[in-house]
């Protein structure tokens, strides 16, 4: 029996050792990765942002609002923290991570829209959180979604990468080849889309009835108010931006966008927040400037950013 226990322990220890070493290498490699998934998180964690103007929002912020244009027109250092599929709780987790490791921004350009007070039950692209789940902020935020991380994923070495061979490969390549970087057309978090128009959003709404399940969810609303209060007390100037959507986009969602807009306007008034709404902008009628119903393509984004930068000039100057 002693022999069996000895060999079992030896087997277990060797496995544990290999798993721990591999996890260390993959984690370390991914923190050096410049891929779409990890660049923004890595910049935030490694104190590489320290922006004057921070852009916060979901995929519409990430794909549409360009720090390059804003920097050149406003002469500030801006950074786009937009996150794919990021509802407000996820955006706020990202902001918390940013504030823990970077200088407080002067301005936050908060993208708002019909989904501002909604929350999904699914975590979009949950892979992007995997290297950071040891951070209590990320762990707490992800715990509210169906794809929440389990105890083995949180505490067993390398198990968080179970069935994520792509991440293991990327992490190891980044770790061993210091020159290796994933291809990425991202600039300071801004990730424009070159793709031609497709019906992705309409199809998703049709397929997933729970995609945007409620107009205004009280817990999201409450988190949003806390966020507004936090900015006010910390002297961070918030600016609401409602980026253009294709003319029939809101009709596709089950959300009552007018109720959401009314609430946003009320908050803007209460907390003295400038509200730049482009929802009725002429861009909304140009399907050729969109990549789907709710995202401008690279050309549309360029036109929009010039409008936005122009409108922001007076606000930022004050």
């Amino acid at each position: 029996m002693r022999k069996a226990i000895t060999y079992s322990l030896l087997f277990g220890c060797i496995m544990l050792l290999i798993l721990c070493i591999t996890q260390h290498m993959v984690d370390k490699g991914l923190t050096a990765s410049k891929s779409q998934y990890f660049t923004v998180w890595n910049d935030a964690y490694q104190s590489r942002i320290n922006a004057d103007l921070l852009i916060l929002g979901g995929s519409r912020a990430r794909i549409v609002i360009s720090p390059k244009v804003l920097d050149s027109v406003l002469h500030v250092n801006s950074y786009n923290l937009g996150i794919d599929g990021g509802f407000i709780p996820i955006q706020l987790a990202m902001l918390k991570v940013y504030l823990q490791h970077n200088r407080k921004p002067k301005y936050i350009l908060q993208n708002v829209d019909f989904s501002t007070f909604s929350n999904g039950i699914h975590l979009s692209n949950s892979e992007q959180f995997i290297p950071y789940i040891s951070d209590p902020i990320v762990r707490e935020m992800t715990s509210h979604y169906q794809e929440k991380f389990t105890i083995p994923e949180l505490y067993f070495p390398l198990f968080k990468y179970n069935n994520h061979l792509n991440l293991i490969k990327e992490g190891l390549l980044c770790y061993f080849h210091t020159g290796y970087r994933s291809s990425n057309n991202m600039y300071k978090g801004f990730s424009p889309r070159l793709l031609a128009f497709d019906n992705f959003f309409a199809m998703r709404i049709q397929k997933e009835s729970d995609y945007l399940r409620n107009n205004i969810q009280p817990e999201v609303d409450s988190q949003f108010v806390d966020y507004l209060k936090f900015c006010k007390s910390n002297d961070i100037k918030l600016i609401f931006v409602y980026v253009p959507l294709l003319h029939d986009a809101t009709a596709l969602t089950s959300t009552d966008s007018s109720a959401v807009t009314r609430k946003l306007l009320a908050y803007a008034k209460e907390y003295n927040i400038p509200f730049l709404s482009y929802v009725n902008d002429t861009l909304r009628d140009h399907k050729e400037l969109f990549t789907d119903h709710i995202h401008l393509n690279v050309t549309g984004a360029q036109i929009f950013n010039e409008h936005l930068a122009y409108d922001l000039r007076t606000i930022v100057a004050n």
């Binding site: 029996m1 069996a4 087997f11 060797i14 496995m15 290999i18 105890i151 069935n163 061979l165 293991i168």
Partner: protein, 488 residues
């Protein structure tokens, strides 16, 4: 508690170490407690049902042994009726009510039998059959009644085979609980290898195939005939890896503690006939049905010659179908197997003559192909969510030829519309795993795979163990997907 859960990863070594540390006389009690904990991890209250059947069959065994004449038969019938009654109540009551209600509806009667809101106790069909085999064997005089209540309870509840078999016979298992099992390093190694191979089959192959199979079979109307065929073939391997994986783990876990359970699978898809398939697939059930249903029926009505054998075969497979689940689709599945066996019995001489005219290798390949195709065809009923879905799948199958023709013309065999919704990468990974499985089986053809591994140098052996362990850990699916046979 599932074998592929992290709870079991703790449970198994703790139970095993305590088992060997305890003096022999206390081991039965330890195993019984462990088995209760294992079973209660599913739905705790159902242990009471198990307890009731244990008490009844324990008493029935002693009463049968002590009685003489027709009283022996009476006690046996009492025990069988109780076991079957419990099985019918929990497994078939709602099925019967639903069908009676449908008949009442057709005959315009307003009366309805209310449906029961009960969950099927896990593994009910398995431990009921195991308990029944005990009283039947005592009645037949092949087994002495067990006087030790704890040991008898352990015979029914022994945790490695409690919820999905193998369905053991008292002659094979009971005496093992009376024998001391000193720790054996060889048993430990053989058992652990078997556990590792079982986990690999379940977590890495079966559950990955299951993702594709579920995608296809949850919306059969939206699938192409090619996808449905692929889904059915994948299901054949999914259910094999799932169930034989479970059996391997059960056998391995028991072996580590020194117990030898019966082998449940022997490369069933290498069978050259349906009769051979049933000698290689779920062996513990097919021998149970053969010993207690098929043989007694065909012997009793032997005066009717071939007719009796055919009727016995069909009745046996209808019972097998009904054993699997309370749904018409399982009955059809059983019936199809019964028909195939009957056909084989009736045409044995003719087929023998026919195959003499064909080269041996070609005949073998034709038999393998036909048997596997037929087994897959019957799986359509087994896997479909309903009889209606199964019929819809079958209706679609003939269009496979035109689909493939079109796909070849448009060069879209894998990624085109034929298999839309199935990621090409997942498909390739699954095919890769199946090739690996086939390779393992080919290797096994020259002896047991486990024994083969054991004869390799230590570095190779450990390399294989580490390779399998890492594959399970990193590419296994651990989303609490139950073993398919748990539902039976």
């Amino acid at each position: 508690m599932l074998f592929n859960s992290f709870e079991f990863l703790l449970f198994f070594p703790i139970v095993t170490i305590i088992y060997f540390l305890l003096p022999y006389k206390l081991r039965w009690f330890h195993l019984l407690v462990a088995s209760c904990i294992f079973y209660m991890a599913f739905v705790p209250v159902y242990i009471l049902i198990l307890f009731a059947t244990i008490v009844i069959d324990y008493a029935a065994g002693i009463l049968i042994e002590n009685a003489e004449g027709h009283k022996r038969r009476l006690w046996l019938i009492m025990s069988l009726v109780t076991n079957v009654g419990i099985l019918v109540f929990f497994k078939y009551a709602n099925f019967l009510s639903t069908n009676i209600n449908a008949l009442l509806h057709i005959s315009d009667m307003s009366a309805r039998i209310p449906l029961l809101k009960i969950l099927l106790p896990i593994g009910l069909s398995f431990h009921t059959f195991q308990a029944m085999s005990y009283t039947i064997e005592v009645y037949r005089g092949n087994q002495k009644a067990e006087r030790h209540f704890g040991i008898y309870a352990l015979y029914v509840m022994f945790y490695p085979q409690l919820v999905a078999g193998p369905i053991e016979r008292p002659q094979n298992l009971l005496h093992q609980f009376h024998t001391p099992h000193p720790f054996s390093y060889d048993d430990f190694v053989i058992g652990m290898r078997r556990v590792l191979w079982g986990l690999f089959k379940k977590c890495v192959i079966a559950d990955r195939l299951g993702i594709i199979v579920d995608n296809i079979y949850n919306h059969p109307q939206q699938q192409s005939a090619t996808a449905l065929i692929l889904g059915t073939v994948f299901f054949a391997f999914q259910i094999f890896c799932d169930f034989s994986g479970y059996s391997d783990i059960a056998l391995g876990v028991a072996r580590v503690m020194g117990f030898h359970l019966m082998v449940n699978f022997n490369k069933p898809y290498n069978a050259k006939s349906i009769s051979e398939f049933w000698r290689k697939w779920h062996i513990s059930l097919s021998t149970w049905l053969s010993d207690y249903v098929y043989t007694p029926l065909s012997v009793r009505f032997r005066d009717y010659g071939m007719k009796a054998v055919i009727v016995a075969a069909i009745v046996t497979f209808l019972i097998s179908g009904f054993w699997h689940g309370a749904a018409w689709k399982y009955m059809v599945w059983g019936l199809l197997h019964g028909i195939a066996i009957s056909y084989e019995i009736a045409t044995r001489k003719f087929r023998k003559k026919l195959f003499k005219k064909i080269p041996e290798q070609a005949g073998r390949l034709i038999s393998l192909f036909l048997t596997f195709s037929y087994v897959c065809f019957t799986y359509i009923f087994f896997r479909a969510n309903s009889l209606r879905d199964a019929l819809a799948v079958i209706k679609k199958l003939p269009s496979v030829f035109s689909e493939i023709g079109q796909a070849i013309r448009h060069r879209g065999v894998l990624t085109g519309q034929l298999l839309s919704g199935i990621p090409t990468m997942s498909l390739l990974v699954c095919i890769g795993y199946l090739l690996l499985l086939e390779l393992a089986h080919r290797y096994e053809g020259r002896g047991s795979l486990m024994e083969m591994v054991g004869t390799k140098p230590r570095a190779v052996r450990w390399g294989i163990y580490f390779g399998m362990a890492f594959t399970i850990y990193l590419f296994g699916i651990f989303n609490s997907r139950q073993f398919i046979y748990f539902q039976f």
